[in-house]
């Protein structure tokens, strides 16, 4: 197993802050916009971005929710392990709002397709955007692209991109994990 750290420490924080500034460019004071993190790992990104935005825009209310996509996946009954759902927590109306969906890693794009389906149960948003901390380029199975990207990574299918978070994992880090050659 070989691990290559792509981003950590100060640089990680700068990337998060850059994403926040880009969001503010398009969403002003967030009165008509909401952040939605995709379960299980996108919620940490959404929480972190919401936290940073609150620091930059004190006094503004930044709405942030968690969306579980388990029941909308397209690989149900097609995999060995059981798909166990996570919690969805969206305490606001997304009807007519601009939604910024967030996931830590954008890879095949299938999760995002499922998330678009899942979101419809909460109303018809005015606009949906996608923010991905890591974009694994050239690996899409469906035509999905992110509006905001932290870093772009060229990787092969057998590799994994793992994002850890200061609050939950002790350290901000993006690591590319490769299985050692046989």
């Amino acid at each position: 197993m070989q691990n290559l750290t792509l981003l950590d420490g100060q640089k990680f924080q700068i990337t998060i802050q850059r994403l926040c500034r880009q969001l503010i460019e398009n969403h002003d004071d967030f009165s008509q916009s909401v952040l939605i993190g995709i379960q299980p790992r996108g919620i940490y990104l959404a929480k972190r971005v919401a936290e940073e935005l609150r620091k930059i825009l004190p006094g503004k209310s930044i709405l942030q929710g968690d969306l579980d996509i388990t029941f909308y996946r397209d690989d149900f009954r097609r995999r060995e392990s059981q798909l166990v759902p996570n919690q969805t927590k969206i305490d606001f109306i997304i009807e007519g709002k601009k939604v910024i969906m967030m996931d830590d890693v954008l890879w095949t794009g299938r999760t995002i397709r499922a998330a678009m389906d899942a979101m419809q149960a909460f109303g018809r948003p005015e606009k949906v955007e996608l923010l991905a901390l890591v974009d694994r380029r050239y690996s899409r199975h469906i035509p999905v692209s992110a509006d905001y990207v932290g870093i772009e990574v060229d990787s092969i299918a057998s590799q994994k991109v793992v994002v850890s978070w200061k609050d939950t994992d002790g350290e901000d880090k993006i690591v590319l994990v490769s299985e050692a050659a046989e």
């Binding site: 029941f71 909308y72 009954r77 059981q82 798909l83 166990v84």
Partner: protein, 308 residues
């Protein structure tokens, strides 16, 4: 993540504690789905389920059908009274004919104990037991325990008394197995003739005095007298049964603590429970019905998720 340890849901007997907890956690998420404006998810869109009912049912059949539809499954319904069973077709033939039309799962209620187990050994589809004779009714027990967990936060350590016709009740047996598995204390209460002789071997207490039983418990599950299964007279009259084992508001108010009242339905108002008790704030009878859909969605989802 590990799934259920069983391919069919034939009885609580086949489930271990981890299975039950997995079902409850999954039901929690389905309950939140059921409280959304759009109550439907697409998970089972390529699954076809046949509801085969050889015995009458309102709640269970509707609850299963709603659960299936909320999961986007295709549903066919079959009631024995209007089918070729009355022309002499056997159970296996009936079900195999239904399966030949490409059905993936069968939800079956049958008047004979073990019908689901028998079927699971002879046909390919996954079987969910919706009640087999006086044997088991697993989804009812799961939704009862789920409702207790919802009310008290946990089932372990709670004292539950099951009152009534224990002898003929599949709800009683499944409830005992499920509650014991989750660490609750269980007592059965009823006339001596309606309590099976060796019920103590399941690790339950037996009591014949309703007031004593109610003073002991946190939750009372009041069962219906199953007159349709009684081939002989087990007690002199329904009136006498009601006097000795019926729960009314006077008894409920005289207890030292506020207990929770449950009933699996259908209620015979004025027999095992009076209207003012059934409709009181201590009763969670309608919560049980609501939870039934979430529990059945969880069971169907977890079974269907196993690769065919």
């Amino acid at each position: 993540m590990a799934g259920l340890s069983t391919r069919h849901l034939l009885g609580i007997k086949d489930l271990n504690r981890a299975d039950i907890e997995l079902i409850f956690e999954t039901a929690d998420t389905f309950k939140s789905v059921l409280n959304r404006p759009i109550k439907k998810v697409p998970s089972l869109r390529d699954v076809t389920i046949a509801n085969i009912f050889f015995e009458n049912s309102t709640r269970t059949r509707l609850s299963f059908e709603l659960a299936e539809k909320r999961l986007s499954a295709d549903v066919v319904n079959f009631a024995a009274s209007s089918s070729s069973v009355s022309k002499g077709e056997t159970l296996i033939d009936t079900v195999n004919n239904i399966l030949a039309m490409k059905v993936d799962m069968v939800v079956m209620r049958h008047p004979y104990a073990g019908a689901g187990i028998f079927l699971s050994k002879h046909v390919k589809a996954q079987i969910v037991n919706a009640g087999d004779g006086a044997h088991e009714h697993p989804t009812q027990a799961l939704l009862d325990a789920f409702s207790i967990r919802e009310k008290y936060g946990d089932v372990a350590g709670k004292k539950v008394v099951i009152v009534g016709d224990i002898l003929h009740s599949r709800v009683a047996l499944s409830n005992i197995l499920c509650l014991k598995q989750l660490g609750a204390e269980v007592m059965v209460c009823g006339p001596t003739t309606l309590i099976p002789k060796y019920i103590g071997s399941l690790g339950v207490k037996v009591e014949h005095n309703l007031i004593k039983a109610l003073n002991w418990c946190d939750v009372a599950n009041m069962l219906r007298i199953q007159l349709e299964r009684q081939d002989i007279k087990y007690f002199p009259s329904l009136r006498e049964y009601t006097m000795l084992f019926g729960l009314n508001k006077t008894i409920l108010d005289s207890l030292d603590k506020e207990i929770t009242v449950m009933h699996p339905g259908p209620i015979n108002r004025g027999v095992e429970i009076t209207s003012d008790v059934a409709d009181s704030k201590q009763s969670i009878i309608l919560d049980q019905v609501e939870n039934g859909v979430a529990i059945r969605m969880a069971v169907l989802y977890l079974l269907a998720g196993q690769t065919p």
